[in-house]
Symmetry: C2
Subunit: 365 residues, 2 copies
DNA sequence: CTGAAAGCGCTAACAC
DNA sequence: GTGTTAGCGCTTTCAG
């Protein structure tokens, strides 16, 4: 039944063939298909029918070559399957589609080498722009607009202090501070912080260039929260755990079973929270009773858990869609370099923070 | 400090410029960069240095035009942010990268129209192949190799009965049957099935063409499980809920509070499980005690939940990587059309299925 | 309103 | 070994 012109493996029809069938030139055919005013309605009609008959599809490669744009953006993400990045990915894919762009996704798995490779490949494929979750706070030579041939760029989630590139992030300093404030106002004094990261470097006060910005902000916010309540920071209450669930669980077990163990834990993402819940189970600690918990990121299970988990809700979808918006501004005719955006987090107190003493109010500086 | 040739917005260097700088022809330059044997080591060196100096990046578009392949595959997925598809996406992106392919991702949000558009766009962009989670079991004219100019195709997760295209799926019939078998062997007789789908159509026995294959298989497996234990199917125990959490929760509340309510529930994915847990909370039903639960898909939170959830574990990562493998076989020099693959599920009994009567063994037909 | 032709940057077949 | 050249399929002046 199928005509040869459309059979499998048949080279798809070219514009020239459409033009021939419609008995016009390539130029006219092209104009007709792009609905140009310079073409007679009758001619347009003939061309459209010819295209339809041949099942014509423009070759976007050829178009991109002459037009100078691919209508494709690159997304370089640190870990797609992270419960946070997957929603962001979706936001980016959907938002970009609305603007007529498709998204070429590369996963770096938090490897700097992979990041460099990804950028090279996406540059070669001539993406019109790039959205990137950088994996290092201080190794960014490959991102410098003036050194490498990098397409217009937007950073998501993590900022890079010395790099003059627009970024979209969330106000994690306030998020962490507010979480600690909630703990302290309910009487907690031994408040732990579990930082989930595959990066080895730890927070160093006043040195935002050596830790991922998300981590830096959260640790700083944590300290600020303690300070506001006159609580002396105890380094042993801050733990860095790797993303692998098992290693995180054992590190946290150690935290929860140490002498003078914390009564409250703030975790930097929902995977770390799961590790805390797991460790609590293993050590027969009841959440919301023996141990209070707040986590960054409102995973779908957080509100269903018993007790429902209190969280620092980050506007993940908006993070992604804003990134696309910033990129589109750069791609627009204005060619403006947009300024960075910091979105607000929301502390949602659901039930995993118990009262252990009389209400306490912070003494903000 | 930056030379003009590499400054921002400067058109990236072309092969011709590299050739000029190295004082050779384009052809030689091209051969040198692809490390061909036909070039003197000395010449190679010169060309490489020239390329380096100009920060040369091949234009993959131009290469694709003459080479006839883009080294890009398209991924058309029904819902990226679904806890199941995000891992599959990652598997596909990672596996493809290992074969030197990048992935252009499009989300259809379960819309047939979006699916058709996605395929058109990806065809235009000349992807070498396509991995697709189809959103309809019976509307597939746009997927027919002999009707439309569709690139080599592999279906993931969902099969289409009458469409001769390789697919990768999991053995969900057995998964559902085994789950019901476990329930029944522990004495459950009122066993419900909660099907999470955005498709309106319901299961019709013997009609695998009108329901998504994943749903068809699971309902059939559920029935088979009941049959093996001599339990009469009760239509009121099978509920179709839409993905939106709130509507799912209310539908499930209705199920759990009806007269002669089920003592066990099997859910077709982890989102549905969350809705069941939520509804249980709202109605003060304790999981593993008042209500037994098994769910498809081993979400990260399932084993941390109390009691830990028993699940039908699907090999999600392998689902994705197998899809890439099947696609690569089609793209290979052999041009073989691989046969479909069905991966095995694993029933993991963790603790959300209680014993309500004496042990019972199935009477398999 | 329509057509002819010059690129876009690369690869590969064919000369030398 | 290296150079020349003809496409790949489209868009877009520039002529008419």
């Amino acid at each position: 039944m199928s005509s040869d012109s459309t059979a499998r493996n048949a080279r798809p029809a070219r514009l020239e063939e459409v033009a021939e069938l419609a008995k016009v030139s390539k130029a006219t055919a092209a104009r007709a298909l792009s609905d140009s005013d310079l073409v007679t309605p009758a001619t347009k009609q003939r061309v459209r029918e010819a295209a339809e008959a041949l099942n014509y599809r423009v070759n976007a490669l050829a178009r991109a070559m002459s037009a100078g744009q691919t209508k494709t953006i690159g997304l370089v993400i640190a870990d797609i399957s992270n419960s946070f990045f997957d929603l962001a990915t979706r936001a980016i894919v959907d938002t970009a589609a609305r603007d007529g762009y498709q998204v070429l996704v590369v996963n770096t798995n938090e490897s700097l080498h992979a990041e460099r490779e990804a950028i090279r490949i996406l540059s070669e494929k001539r993406v019109d722009g790039l959205i990137l979750v950088p994996c290092s706070p201080d190794d960014y030579a490959h991102l410098e607009p003036h050194r490498a041939p990098v397409p217009p760029l937007v950073l998501v989630d993590r900022r890079i202090v010395d790099l003059d590139v627009p970024s979209v992030s969330t106000d994690d300093f306030s998020g962490a501070r507010d979480a600690v404030d909630l703990f302290a106002s309910r009487g907690h004094r031994r408040i732990a912080l579990v930082v989930n990261t595959s990066d080895d470097r730890v927070y160093r006060e006043g040195d935002p260039r050596s830790t991922l910005s998300t981590i830096y902000d959260r640790v700083r916010g944590y300290h600020e929260g303690l300070r506001a309540h006159g609580i002396e920071p105890d380094p042993s209450l801050v733990r860095y755990v790797r993303p692998e669930h098992s290693s995180a669980t054992s590190a946290i077990t150690q935290l929860l079973t140490m002498p003078d163990a914390p009564s409250a834990v703030l975790t930097t993402n929902s995977d770390a929270a799961l590790a805390v819940l797991d460790a609590s189970n293993l050590n027969s600690l009841e959440i919301g009773k023996d141990l209070s918990v707040i986590t960054f990121d409102d995973a779908p299970w957080a509100r269903v858990f018993r007790p429902p988990l209190s969280v620092v809700q980050r506007p993940v979808y908006k993070l992604g869609s804003s990134a696309v918006r910033l990129l589109m501004e750069q791609l627009g005719p204005e060619h403006t370099l947009p300024s960075s955006v910091e979105l607000r987090n929301t502390l949602v107190d659901r039930g995993s923070v118990q009262v252990v003493g009389p209400p306490v109010t912070a003494q903000r500086a």
